[in-house]
């Protein structure tokens, strides 16, 4: 028997390694753009077609390469950026591993044109699947232009794992923005399918942020600038009243390189102290400068993670920089009288057991639905014909109380609530007396359940109601949100949002779902998109289900909203006529109940 273990041929090992460095078109864009920056270019143009699947082209006016280098650069671990191990501690360039081009070349068709300032003529190199097909003289401008075509053409497995064009483009977009933000001194252009998406002139950081995002966004920023001999921190953070509901637009750079670090995110949040509420996230662009020898960026090929020699020092420095910046700026933080004298959370606590809890937690998602539902006969036939054909989609329905078990809610009929006392506790829970006990309803979760079902119904029914607006509301979106909004046009209309897509990433709302509380429409619309993106990443939901959940979550009344008696009664009525009254779309309980027997026991009455 011969030996089974063999050294892989180079072409194969490159293909395998490519998977780590290049896992989607976005990685190619990142590597190429970073190379251009390292080549001291001051103008970089990125051209994307078909979300990078058919073409990614990055051209720069940087130093260029000689003919020898142009061929050599596609060899694995070939780099101009370091020459010895000691250099690893002094890395100032973005790339250094020497893996990128080799990896990209091994899984695509690459065409490289390059010329140095000294040479008369440039070099054209064509590579397919890592093999040099041609290397010849050509005429071209100083700099380097690399076109990557048919990415993953020889690794079908990888190609099949690519997401939709929209998703892939979003990754490219985010990467482009990250790099553009950190290099305001470089001119950047981004063309997608021949349309210009960005044409960013050389400027400073503030202007660059303004150009990429919007004027209103940049107006909400506060400058951060602090440092000592070891750590320097500068950049911008958003004012506390301009927070978002998702962790977007948060940018950390270490010595000019974008990175992600949850602990340091928390350092920023904690710098805001009580100025932001839990669940609200500030936007920030923070540049940290530390001697490279005190950090390790070579943790992973994508270099998104960073290790600090002394993370707690960075943490402390970040927090205090944010605090200082907030202190110095005059933040108009509107706290109405009503807010300051809200009931404080009482320190005494009620340790009732939640009788419903056992039932809820005892069943996994996907339990089939059976019984325990009020007859909805006649409901489907609305005079508005809203509910034409409600496809009952039960497979995603969360936890259901098992009707076989003694059910605490089995007595709960709609009629029980009629004419009884209903009152609001801490603008958060609705307390309701029933024949057999006390019912406590989480107003947000309950409304979420109602809106979720309504939204699903209207999304599936192709009919809609939209309260028209006298004065249309304009909402300024980012390019990527605008693209998402466009892709959801029909779904938005079915929910009741009449959206007109204007130029410059502005949308105009001329109609709203009639059950959205007025006054927050543009916020809800923006949050709806943010939530949609978040769910898309985390939960892999069906488009409609995602939108219905996002809509329900964002437009439901919140804890803290004061409700009128009529609204509370309406909420209870609607909740108990919903398909699944006892859990919100995320699976949390909407109602708990304390029976009179339970109370009697607690008070030791017999």
């Amino acid at each position: 028997m011969g030996s089974c273990i063999k050294i892989l041929p180079l072409s194969l090992s490159n293909k395998i390694a490519a998977g780590e460095v290049v896992n989607r078109p976005e990685s190619v864009v990142k590597e190429l753009m970073e190379n251009s920056i390292d080549a001291k270019a001051d103008s970089i143009t990125v051209i994307i077609k078909d979300a990078g699947k058919s073409l990614i082209q990055v051209s720069d006016n940087g130093s260029g390469m000689s003919e020898d280098d142009a061929v050599l650069c596609f060899q694995r671990h070939s780099t101009s950026k370091i020459t010895s191990a000691e250099d690893l501690d002094r890395i100032k360039t973005l790339g250094f591993r020497g893996e990128a081009l080799a990896s990209v070349a091994s899984i695509s068709h690459v065409e490289l044109k390059t010329k140095t300032g000294d040479d008369e003529v440039g070099t054209l190199v064509r590579i397919e699947g890592g093999e040099v097909k041609t290397a010849e003289k050509t005429n071209c401008e100083k700099g380097t232009s690399i076109a990557v075509k048919n990415l993953f053409y020889n690794t079908p497995g990888r190609r099949n794992f690519l997401k939709s064009n929209q998703t892939e483009f979003r990754h490219i977009y985010e990467t482009f923005v990250r790099i553009a933000v950190s290099n305001p001194g470089i001119e950047f252009n981004l063309f997608v399918n021949d349309d210009p998406v960005f044409e960013l002139k050389k400027s400073d950081l503030f202007q660059r942020i303004k150009d990429i995002f919007s004027d209103t966004f940049s107006d909400s920023l506060i400058e951060v600038n602090q440092g000592n001999e070891i750590i320097k921190i500068n950049g911008y953070i958003s004012k506390p009243n301009f927070t978002k509901k998702s962790k977007q637009d948060q940018f950390f750079y270490l010595n000019g390189r974008f990175f992600i670090n949850r602990t340091l995110n928390f350092a920023v949040y904690s710098g805001y102290d009580d100025l932001i509420e839990k669940g609200d996230y500030p936007s920030f662009f923070l540049f940290i400068e530390i001697n490279p020898s005190k950090t390790d960026v070579n943790v992973h090929p994508s270099k998104m993670e960073v290790k600090f020699e002394d993370e707690s020092a960075v943490f402390g420095m970040l927090r205090s920089s944010v605090r200082e910046a907030l202190k110095k700026s005059d933040i108009v933080f509107n706290v109405g009288f009503d807010n300051t004298i809200k009931f404080n959370d009482t320190t005494e606590s009620f340790h009732f057991t939640q009788p419903g809890k056992k039932e809820f937690s005892g069943h996994g998602i996907g339990t089939s639905f059976s019984g325990n539902r009020q007859s909805k006969s006649g409901n489907i036939h609305s005079i508005f014909e809203a509910s034409k054909e409600f496809q009952e989609d039960k497979k995603d329905e969360p936890i259901v109380p098992d009707p076989a078990e003694p059910n605490i809610f089995s007595h709960t009929k709609k009629s029980e609530t009629e004419g009884f006392n209903v009152w609001q506790y801490q603008y958060k829970y609705i307390m309701c007396q029933t024949e057999t006990g006390l019912m406590i309803i989480d107003q947000h979760a309950a409304h979420e359940r109602i809106l979720y079902e309504k939204a699903l119904m209207s999304l599936n029914s192709q009919s809609y109601f939209s309260q028209q607006l006298l004065l249309p509301i304009k909402v300024n979106l980012t390019k990527i949100d605008y693209v998402i909004a466009q892709s959801l046009k029909d779904e938005f209309r079915n929910l009741g949002f009449i959206v007109n897509y204007l130029k410059d990433n502005i949308v105009e709302l001329s109609g709203l779902p009639s059950d959205v509380k007025p006054g927050k429409e543009n916020k809800i619309f923006q949050e709806l998109i943010d939530q949609y993106k978040e769910y898309e990443l985390k939960l892999n939901l069906d488009k409609r289900d995602n939108l219905a959940k996002s809509f329900a979550c964002r437009s439901a009344i919140k804890s803290g909203d004061k409700l009128q008696y009529q609204e509370m009664v309406g909420l209870i009525d609607n909740l108990f006529s919903s398909q699944m009254p006892f859990v919100c779309p995320h699976g949390r309980p909407t109602v708990i109940r304390i029976t009179t027997d339970e109370l009697d026991k607690r008070f030791s009455r017999s």
Binding site: N379, H381, I383, L470, S514, D515, E567, G570, N574
Partner: protein
């Protein structure tokens, strides 16, 4: 300070101020009413810092002085001593003693200097409105004011003092009420637009008994004086949305309908409509209007038909064959209909996603009053 006054008279004036006193204020001094006595003239002042209200009454003055007196207790006691003559005396420690023929009550007061005072400005614009107009115009529009606090520029009534027109306008983005006085003759060259905050408007409506009013204002402040009341308020420092362009000029279907039939019908429809969306559907034929509401969630449904006639329409449409259908938030429509004072009202429509306009069948003299309601588009 020392004076005497009848209990019911004091109670009457105190209760005028009661609504401005904040129920839970971070500034305890605002729980008080400032008493300021000069001769026989007693001025009472209360405030929530945004609005100051002052009333003046005649008392039997004995010694001038100023003191801040806790409002609640004073009002409660004076209400129960309506027929008694109260003798009120304040010592130099701000302790208030109230004596009747058979009782004596003591209340601890606060120094008058602690009470905030409204800014008295001298160079304000002035217009005078007869009592009928001011209150009427506010009451015709104030229901359409936006009540959420996010859109400040809509959270009050616009008073637009024009060359020879006076306009009051309010909107919440879903409906808009506008009333114009055509025979308004301005006393000076001013042409001003101010937004009177909702709360200020409500105080004025409550206290003004069709009294002639003197209105003074600049960009920031408003002072309204009538009979024995003076109201100081901040104005909304924002520009009212430009509304003229959104009022449709080409609503070609004009319908005449009985106000009372329609409003009663809408009230009943509201009982059966979804409590949150309050949606009703109108199906209009050449001689009748069907009003339908439902809430399938709780199996409730209602419909009725009332008579109506077309005053004009574009001509070619046969509404009996294909009725004109439009949906509204019933409470918006009901609000608008209720404001009309004629037995019959006109409603004009363009199409089912355009604003409908309600007007009285006959406008009052020299007046133009309309209300616009955006429909619910059904697709």
């Amino acid at each position: 300070m020392k004076f005497s006054v009848k209990g019911d008279k004091l109670a009457e004036y105190l209760s005028k101020l009661n609504s401005v006193i904040p129920s839970r204020s971070p500034l305890p001094i605002l729980d008080n009413i400032l008493f300021d006595l000069k001769g026989n003239e007693l001025k009472l002042l209360a405030s929530d810092l945004e609005i100051f209200i002052r009333t003046t009454l005649e008392v039997e003055g004995k010694k001038d002085g100023r003191v801040a007196i806790p409002a609640r207790r004073l009002l409660d006691i004076s209400r129960t001593l309506t027929s008694a003559s109260l003798s009120v005396e304040v010592n130099d420690k701000n302790r208030i003693t109230i004596k009747t023929s058979n009782g004596k009550y003591t209340i601890g007061g606060e120094p008058a200097e602690d009470f905030p005072s409204p800014e008295e400005k001298s160079d304000l614009h002035t217009i005078n409105l007869d009592g009928h107009t001011f209150k009427r115009y506010l009451s015709k529009t104030i229901h359409a004011v936006n009540t959420d606090e996010l859109r400040r520029n809509m959270s009050g009534v616009l008073m637009d003092v024009n060359r020879n027109e006076l306009k009051f306008v309010a909107t919440d983005g879903f409906r808009l009420a506008k009333i114009i006085k055509k025979d308004f003759k301005k006393q000076s060259e001013i042409e001003e637009k101010i937004i009177i905050p909702l709360k200020t408007g409500q105080h004025i409506m409550k206290l003004n008994n069709n009294d002639d009013s003197n209105i003074e204002f600049d960009d920031i402040d408003l002072k309204v004086s009538f009979s024995d009341v003076e109201i100081y308020s901040k104005l909304i420092d924002d520009s009212f949305p430009s509304y003229e362009n959104v009022i449709p000029k080409d609503n070609d279907k004009i319908l005449k309908v009985s106000k009372i039939l329609l409003s009663d019908s809408l009230k009943r429809a509201l009982i059966f409509a979804d409590v949150i969306t309050k949606r009703v559907r109108l199906e209009i034929k050449s001689g009748s209007m069907e009003i339908k509401a439902d809430n399938p969630e709780i199996v409730s449904e209602g419909e009725e038909t009332i008579e109506c006639t077309f005053v004009s329409n574009s001509g070619s449409e046969d509404f009996d064959k294909s009725p004109f259908v439009i949906a509204f938030n019933a409470s918006y429509l009901l609000d608008a209909v209720s404001q009309m004072e004629t037995e019959e009202i006109n409603i004009s429509f363009g199409n089912s996603s355009k604003a409908a306009i309600t007007t009285p069948s006959k406008q009052a003299d020299n007046e133009d009053f309309i209300e616009l309601i955006m429909p619910v588009r059904v697709g």
